[in-house]
């Protein structure tokens, strides 16, 4: 019986071009677009901002300051001529650092020239406060290092042994701080692909509402359900005949989308998806999520009067759950209150499960709570749907 239902449901979905587009093409395109669009957001090699240095001091100290600033790849130094700087905005430069005449002398004296700053910073109007704060800190750090180097040179003349103690000091950030991303494996870093693939897998899985409700409502309208009832097909058997095929379809979706992340996205220049350490964890969380998606879809199919109603309601529910659950907008950039609200969406539970495996490198035990909650949610909705259907079946 299940074999017949499985074959029937597969043939009907395969012959429904709209369903295929919603289930497979839409999420694959989303993964590709979002991985490419967010590529630079997760790229540590990409500069946050650009700046230029105008050296009016023409001193060794000014040249050294410029060198020290260049060590930080977070800000890209661009060369411009003195006459161009007033039009720096046209060059897409966010900061103009002017090292004024007398900078070297003031630095040596450890003075700021009668209350004036050591150098001047012109800032583009579009620059965000936090970027400005980071750049100012970077500049202050470079000037401090310059001062220490100046002191070291002076000490080398009068106290060579003490100066020797300073010579081994390395102020580069990588030497001072060893960064490890939370729960990432080895030297892995989070990438846009690692973030996008789970989001759009979760979103796509809920779109089984389209073929499922279309088929189910047509079955009801055409009396096929009555006929199946008269052929001794009980509601649990009917639901099992729906759950099994769509869970298989969801698994196909998951692994196709993972394939897109691993093999297609890199062809367009974004980082490939890496699978983490737990394929079993991926299967478990996707099965839990699948049951939640099937439960939601069956309840919508049983409740809605027409196919149009079901696909509209289903679409709206999916988009709301997605927006709430961190699919459209990553949860970490939401305000705290919205992050708490996100916890009501089963898509959020599923997404966290996928991120546990794909992003945080955790194992199967990490996704058991989310998988259990999703399975329970799906089962609950199926029970409600069965009770509703019992009135008319």
């Amino acid at each position: 019986m299940f074999k017949a239902m499985l074959i029937k449901e597969f043939i009907l979905v395969l012959r429904d071009r709209h369903a295929l587009a919603a289930l497979f093409i839409m999420p694959a395109v989303f993964i590709l677009i979002m991985s490419l669009a967010l590529k630079d957001t997760f790229n540590s090699g990409r500069a946050l901002s650009t700046y230029a240095v105008i050296d009016e001091d023409n001193s060794d100290a000014a040249v050294r300051l410029s060198e020290l600033l260049r060590e930080n790849k977070g800000f890209a130094q661009q060369a411009i001529s003195g006459s161009e700087w007033k039009h720096a905005q046209n060059h897409d430069i966010h900061f103009i650092l002017t090292i004024p005449a007398g900078f070297s002398r003031n630095l040596e004296k450890n003075e700021t020239g009668g209350g004036a700053a050591l150098c001047r910073l012109d800032v583009g109007a579009e620059v965000k406060e936090n970027i400005l704060a980071i750049f100012k800190l970077e500049l202050a750090m470079a000037i401090t290092r310059l001062r220490i180097e100046t002191i070291k040179d002076e000490l080398a003349v009068y106290l060579p042994e003490t100066a020797q103690e300073f010579s081994g000091m390395d102020f580069s950030p990588d030497k001072m701080v060893d960064v490890h991303f939370n729960a990432m494996t080895g030297n892995e870093k989070p990438t846009s692909t690692q973030q996008s693939v789970p989001s759009w897998i979760v979103f796509a899985m809920f779109f089984i509402v389209i073929p499922m409700s279309t088929i189910f409502i047509n079955e009801r309208k055409q009396n096929t359900l009555s006929r199946m009832n008269a052929m001794n097909i009980s509601i649990p058997a009917l639901f099992a005949g729906k759950i099994a095929p769509y869970m298989v379809i969801n698994q196909i979706q998951v692994w196709i989308m993972i394939g897109v992340g691993m093999f297609i996205v890199p062809l367009f220049g974004a980082a490939p998806l890496t699978l983490g350490n737990s394929p079993g964890g991926l299967v478990l969380i996707s099965l839990g999520l699948s049951l939640a998606a099937v439960g939601t879809s069956v309840l919508i199919a049983v409740t809605a009067a027409t196919v149009e109603q079901a696909t509209t309601i289903g679409g709206i529910i999916n988009i709301l759950l997605g927006a709430l659950g961190g699919i459209m907008v990553p949860k970490f950039i939401m305000p705290l209150i919205m992050q708490k609200v996100a916890a009501v969406s089963p898509m959020s539970w599923g997404l966290e499960g996928f991120l546990d495996i794909l992003l945080r490198g955790q194992g199967i035990s990490a996704v058991i709570p989310e998988s259990g909650a999703l399975g329970g949610f799906g089962a609950g909705l199926l029970i409600i749907a069965a009770m509703r259907l019992k009135r008319s079946y």
Partner: protein, 308 residues
């Protein structure tokens, strides 16, 4: 084969079946005749376990319905009025699916598929998508699906609604052929010509009660009322039903004709005028030769008038 005693079915306050008694013998083609809303479809739904009932007893194949529903269903088939299969599956895919969910397998499956296909002459259509079949071909597939378990009892709920006369005759002769296989057929319709054409026994149901049951031949012999048949063009069954309900002693004979159970020229003239007013064209007029209609009108009119 089927025994129904004091069957009561209520929908909220409305009494759909009112202490209905009915008995159907094995191997007969049994016509269940009644106006729309009389309770025919409700009765068929109850016999198939699709609707529950409040009071009464039903025995099918000597088994009480409630406890033995699953066993009984395995030996029965319900052919719904509208085609109940999948438009996006081919004819053979549909047949295989419905055989599969009934857990018919192996040589039995092969035999039963052959039987359903052959009886309904579906061989040339097996690879065709159901959506592109003609109305008549869809009706044949609808019947074929019901025959996959080689049922002993077949319930037909108005199987000829909305199809052309040629296909209708074709389906009626298929149904008639089940008598040779000793199958019991329960056939609901409000087209009396069809009932006369294929049925051995008839029950007339009105307002949830059986108002007459018996051998068709003896019922016709008893009835001798003059009638007039008006043949029409450019109308639909729904429009015709609506029109007939507004008239006295008038019933829909088939999808393109009305029967009036009298020959009074003034009464006939009045009906012709009203047909013209409703833009229903009259193709011809003849004296009625069948008596089931007049019996039906007499029985159902008397019941309905007593309500007024």
């Amino acid at each position: 084969m089927i025994t129904i005693k004091k069957l009561v079915k209520r929908y909220d306050d409305r009494l759909a079946l009112d202490h209905l008694d009915l008995s159907i013998a094995k191997g007969v083609i049994f016509g269940l005749l009644g106006p729309n809303g009389a309770g025919k479809t409700t009765l068929i739904a109850i016999l198939n376990g699709l609707t529950d009932f409040q009071e009464g007893e039903i025995e099918i194949m000597a088994m009480p319905l409630g406890k033995n529903l699953k066993k009984i269903r395995k030996r029965c088939a319900f052919i719904p009025q509208s085609p109940a299969f999948y438009d996006n599956l081919s004819v053979i895919e549909n047949l295989r699916f419905f055989a599969g969910i009934q857990q018919i397998s192996g040589s039995e499956r092969r035999d039963n598929l052959d039987y359903a296909i052959t009886i309904n002459r579906l061989q040339p259509l097996l690879g065709k998508r159901a959506a592109i079949l003609s109305g008549g071909q869809k009706k044949r597939l609808n019947i074929a699906v019901g025959l996959l378990n080689k049922p002993e009892i077949i319930y037909f709920d108005e199987p000829t609604a909305g199809i052309d006369p040629e296909t209708r005759n074709d389906i009626l002769s298929t149904i008639r052929s089940f008598k040779d296989e000793n199958k019991t057929v329960v056939y609901t319709s409000h087209y009396m010509a069809e009932i006369e054409q294929i049925c051995d026994e008839v029950a007339i149901i009105n307002q949830g009660r059986i108002v007459r049951q018996g051998q068709l031949k003896s019922m016709l012999a008893e009835e001798n009322v003059d009638s007039v048949v008006i043949e029409l063009v450019g109308t639909s069954p729904i429009q015709l039903e609506k029109f007939a309900r507004k008239q006295q002693k008038t019933v829909v004979l088939d999808q393109a004709s009305l029967m009036i159970a009298e020959r009074n020229p003034a009464a006939i003239g009045k009906i012709l005028t009203e047909l013209e007013a409703e833009k229903i064209m009259v193709k011809g007029l003849r004296y009625g030769t069948t008596n089931l209609e007049s019996l039906f009108i007499r029985l159902t009119s008397r019941e309905n008038n007593s309500d007024v």
